[in-house]
Amino acid sequence: MENILELRHINKIYGTTIKTQVLTDINTSFKKGSFSSIIGQSGSGKSTLLNIMGTLDTPTSGEVLINGIDTAKFSKGRLAEIRNKNIGFVFQFHYLLPEFTALENVLMPYRIGNSAITPEVRQRAIELMQLVGLEKVINNNATQMSGGQQQRTAIARALLNNPDIILADEPTGNLDSNSTETIYNLLRDINERFGTTFIIITHDRRIAEKADRIIEIADGQINMDIYK
């Protein structure tokens, strides 16, 4: 199977006067449809790595290849398009737009990349909300849902454009253990159903062990890379 994402000699240095090297010579790749987790201590550089993978951040040196194409070649506008159509983000904080309802939030990625919502897209959004178990609250304002519901809405949103990759940064960090379990099972389910590639950062080893591959980052370098 081909690589959906490839990182070559990635280095990231912050600061101009006082320089901090956060990532050092990262080389790795991810196969299409894989379910991987990245673990590491606080400050190990895993979030930075995820953001670089998702084109939200640029490496100081090195290449990020998505579907075999070097993203350095792309303009800001083109990168925005790639983020919109090919990548889905799930962050620790849900970042739903409080001014919109749950369904409107889920539909947002489509509206950003296109002009008007078609009935098919609307139906897909409703189905995704059903998938995450939220069909009853689709018309609730984002602020009128529990933390777990909001995070599940964020997951549905990340899936709307049927992206190739979902990058999740501690998606259950703010949730209780029951919700955490539910969400991880949901993610695995989506991976099996749609073949979406998942790369999930987590500090929780028990959760990491649910993945097919565990990558450990320590001091900005890959310490361990195990396939189960």
């Binding site: 939200l56 983020r83 737009l97 990349g113 949103r157």
Partner: protein, 388 residues
Amino acid sequence: MKLSLQIATRFLRSTLVQTIIIILGIGIGVSVQIFIGSLITGLQKSLIETTIGNSSQITISTEADSGLIADYKPLLTQVASDDSRIEFVGPALDNAAFLSFDGKSQSLLVRGFEQGSADHIYNLSDYITEGSFPAAENEVLLGKTLQEKYGFKVGDHFELIAPDKSTSTCVISGFFDLKVAAVNNSWCVTSLSNAQSIFGTGDKISSIEMQLYDDQVFAADEVMANITTALKNDSLHLTNWKIQNESLLSGLQGQSISSLMIQVFVMISVVLGIASILAITVMQKSRQIGILKAMGIKNGKASLIFLFEGVILGVFGAIVGIALGLGLAFAFSTFALNADGTPVVALYIDQNFIALSGCIAVLACMVASLIPARRSSKLNPIDIIRNN
């Protein structure tokens, strides 16, 4: 575009109190503009109307031939056709004379002109307090000061002594009050033909008087230049109200400039206020902008959100401002009244001016929103996400 507009609307609705305060701020700025603009224009119009609305705005006279213009009828026709801004042209014959009554006497200025001039230049019918414009031979109109001084009544007679010592008996056909004491005390108004026969001038006049259309009054100097060129007659001397009322003119110009400055500075302060508040809203919504960018919204679309916020605020602010401004104007005209019931403050409501004020408000808000729009395009999603 539609998405940016919807996000802008939702953002504004989500901070409703703040939005209302901004709209009120713009509204007050626009209402001040409208009120002051209408006030100054109204004052100017009423001032001009009072000062030169009832007198000759361009006058042609001569120094030659003892100050008399013969063969004036073709001149009248020519001048009337020289410039389309002229509303009325009429002949006048002025002479000094003496009034003699009951052993008393005083000097008078006998003004002879036709009914047309009386109506279109002097609006005499508005100022006649008793009686009517002289019709029959030897009928004259006198000012009310003379009426009070000599106890005259309509129909009374008095002697008029011309400079050549010839005497005519005049019958008073009525009285006028032109609101200027000197005029009420010295003018003796009669028909042109009567003046010509009393002073034995023949069919000659001493001046050609004219009035321009109300909205062309300030073009008097241009019109005079046109006529001068067209007439090509060195013996004729032309003057206009601007030359005769220099201090009034500079006063009016000073008023206009200060009014304009007030309006401009009010608008500038409104723009600055809005720009700073909108810049704050960018910070307030930075999380939302960050996630939108993470989801792939382009910088241009994100900036459009704040431009749309500016337009929406401008439109609503203009509406509120126009309503407030007109309301203020109405309140002043209705409640601020003089003893005689006329409004203390003269206002002139010009639809074009109001529309212009509204458009300027919307434009000003768009300009104000450029700074926050630019700020939002610089927002990096990574900074927002990292900082949470």
